[in-house]
Amino acid sequence: MTVNEPARAPVGVSQAASLSAYRRVVAVRLRDLALLPALVALIVVGTFISPVFLSPANITTILTSSAALALLVLAESLIVITGKFDLSLESTFGFAPAIGAMLVLPAANYGFGIQLPTAVGLLVIVLIGAIIGFVIGFMVVGLRLNAFIVTLAMLIIVRGMLVGATSGRTLFDLPDAFYALMTVTLVGLPLSVWLAALAFFIAGIVLRYHRLGRALYAIGGNAEAARAAGIRVERVTWGVYVLAGVLASIGGLVTTGYVGAISANQGNGMIFTVFAAAVIGGISLDGGKGTMFGALTGVLLLGVVQNVLTLAQVPSFWIQAIYGAIILGSLMVARVTGGEAQE
């Protein structure tokens, strides 16, 4: 080992590093902020379209209506960062609250007629989310089946079980506790918004500063290297599926509070919006890349778009096409301003 090189290195490291580290920090932030230009543009358009757009009431509306999507996007982002897939979250999103409700409701209201205590019903909702995640984890991690196909099948099965259990009917007159996430407010915002914000905050901290969070990036980036570094790849991946199931079931409960009922269609088709929000938020479908902040801006962007389209009184038959076009447009803007390829 030559003596001069390592001796020289520290000086070079500290000087070059501080400068380029600064530049890199800026670059990282920039990538996180890639959606902001699109978001600002939309807000300008929104203000132009309707004077109420920037009113506190409307902003509350945007946040409230985005809370459920936010929880689903969080769940999907964790899975995608780990390098996997889950399409079935949207079915869990409908199925879990419906079964929880049916355990509580009397038969006259299309329940199972066993009328368990409300608290048990709420607990079962979360439990069902965990069980579905566990089953998917078993197939993807334990049996090593392809995550795309497994979760596509689960999407259909779980949705089918929901339709079967409810005979396609909508569940009304739930106990008040089922609506609590929406009806209870704190500083003017419903509990669901605080819950989603808290979930994103915790996830952001864990992903950045906890070994489990770093393990997700390592597994998504190179599972073999993660294994060689002592990370229990299977266990962590499996756990992420369970956590995602739980988040999806809670998201479903949020929507139940928002709508005031559970239809057999709750969450149907939502997974596309979820992926759109995650990807325009900078979560790479290749795994190993993306931040919670980015994902959150993706959610907010889509929330603002929905809101602006409604305020602009776009004919409802055209909303879908315009919504899709705006998602594509934001992707392009993010690509141009972020400078990094969106995979």
Partner: protein, 511 residues
């Protein structure tokens, strides 16, 4: 079928004054502020093998990119047989002049050999692909260049050297007679390398010119007639290999006189009472049987053998990366369960895995994340990672291993191969292991990094670690107190320090 050459034979018309088959004159290339090539020249004469050597980052890859028409030079000129190079956009013209066989195969593994050979130019009949014709032409092509591979085999099932030959045959079928081999021997073992060199000589006799890139200088002398050295993006020297002895070649590459650490293994005495740190007893697994050895603290034990000898299987078992079916492994007297990396780490085993890209690094993460991956749970309370502590540890690694990087936040994918390997070594050392398992620790790194890495190994020995070096490279094994040789999954010989190259190689090859 216009691109495929006339089957009647050599179509290359060469001027009588034997102009160089390829010549680069005053080529420069910049990437932003980085100068990748600065007024570089190279001249490759027909029917010879020309070596291109230089440390990682010297500009070899950029030059190869320019010679194959993938990048255009900022300044300077490329000439083929005296004529100016075709425009960059004319891929077909470039393909008929030059081809590069990269370290990473460009064969599509799920297609047959035949289809790979004629991909995107399959013979057609009334607009549809004619499979019989495709197979016939593939067979003819393989026979012509004496490649004994079935045209119907799945390309992914081929051995590496066979895959390289298929790639060479494909390049020749486009009419190219100048072929660049980018570290073709990196993944081959002794026997396979010999086979490759034999084929290179045959092809050379048949009119093919090679530009040969390798980190193994011995190979340059074995198979090449001329050599060009690049250093820091500049041309240093071009000469017939006969005029450039190894010492001067290394000097040209590094800019200073370097001698690889020939650790004084002969004079070293191991304290007789040094405790045994690693005890492998009657170990059997998928590709090895009944392997036993011990390594004491402050001792370096080498295990060598062909790629398929089972040495990697043994090393991975010790590191917890692979399983074993019988026998025991004890680390400091404690039993190691099979196939359990966290357990191995907890018992004090550090490991540099065989492939740094596959198992060693997460390329999308930073130097800091990679370095501290093995000790994440020790960086703060409840598994939280204190950034300050992570950066502190990473900086220590950067300094003690001499990693050339902008800092802990730089992505490892931006580092050169040698520095990436140092990060892998840093990751192995981060957990302060008592037993260190190193698999091919200097594979694919330049001379200077190799020297640094082997220096680290020696330092770790002096600190009293038990070190297991599992490698096919003699340079890696020089510092070992003993070298065990494996063949067909069993230990067949033991060489004490002071072995000669010939004796060791003969033992590895089973001569």
């Amino acid at each position: 079928m216009a691109e495929v050459e006339d089957p009647s034979g050599r179509t290359l018309v060469r001027p009588l004054d034997a102009a160089p088959i390829v010549e680069a004159i005053g080529v420069s290339k910049r990437y932003g502020p980085t100068v990748a090539l600065d007024n570089v020249r190279i001249r490759v004469d027909p029917d010879q093998s020309h070596a291109l050597v230089g440390r990682n980052g010297a500009g070899k890859s950029t030059l190869v990119g320019i010679l194959t028409g993938l990048r255009s030079p900022d300044a300077g000129e490329i000439r083929f047989s005296g004529a100016p190079a075709p425009p960059i956009a004319d891929r077909a013209a470039w393909r008929s002049l030059v081809a590069c066989v990269y370290q990473h195969s460009t064969i599509i593994p799920n297609l047959t050999v035949a289809e790979n050979l004629f991909i995107n130019r399959q013979p057609t009949e009334r607009g549809l692909i004619s499979w019989p014709a495709l197979r016939r032409q593939a067979r003819a092509l393989l026979d012509r260049w004496n490649v004994s591979v079935s045209e119907n085999a799945r390309a992914g099932d081929l051995r590496i050297e066979a895959r390289q030959l298929v790639e060479i045959a494909r390049a020749l079928s486009y009419g190219a007679r100048f072929i660049i081999l980018d570290e073709p021997t990196a993944q081959l073992d002794g026997e396979e390398i010999k086979g490759l060199f034999a084929r290179m000589r045959e092809l050379q006799a048949a009119g093919v010119t090679f530009l040969f890139i390798s980190h193994h200088l011995q190979e340059v002398y074995e198979v090449c007639q001329a050599v060009t050295v690049l250093r820091d993006a500049r041309h240093i020297i071009s000469a017939p290999v006969a005029d450039l002895p190894k010492g001067r070649l290394i000097e040209a590459m590094t800019g200073e006189q370097v001698h690889l650490p020939t650790a004084d293994t002969g004079g070293r005495t191991l304290a007789a009472d040094a405790p045994v740190a690693l005890d492998v007893h009657n170990l059997s697994g998928e590709d090895f049987t009944d392997v036993s050895f011990t390594v004491r603290r402050g001792e370096i034990l080498g295990i060598s053998g062909a790629t398929s000898s089972g040495r990697i299987g043994v090393a991975e078992a010790v590191a917890g990366l692979g399983g074993f079916t019988a026998g025991t492994i004890r680390i400091d007297q404690k039993l190691l369960p099979p196939d359990d990396v966290p357990a191995a780490l907890a018992l004090g085993v550090g490991c540099v895995p065989k492939s740094r890209h596959k198992q060693g690094l997460v390329l999308s993460q930073s130097v800091g994340d990679n370095t501290t991956m093995t000790i994440n749970r020790k960086l703060g309370p409840l598994g939280f990672i204190a950034p300050r502590r992570k950066n502190e540890l990473t900086r220590q690694t950067i300094v003690s291993l001499g990693v050339v990087t902008e800092g802990p936040d730089q992505l490892v994918s931006r580092l050169s191969g040698g520095n990436q390997q140092k990060v892998v070594m840093g990751r192995a050392l981060a957990s302060a292991p008592s037993v260190l398992v190193l698999m091919d620790p200097t594979a694919g790194v330049d001379v200077k990094s190799k020297e640094a890495l082997l220096g680290v190994v020696e330092r770790m020995r002096q600190e009293g670690k038990a070190i297991l070096v599992v490698s096919g490279e003699l340079e890696d094994l020089r510092a070992c107190d003993r070298v065990l040789i494996m063949r067909h999954g069993a230990i067949v010989a033991e060489h004490k320090a002071g072995w000669t190259d010939n004796a060791l190689v003969a033992s590895i090859e089973g001569i």
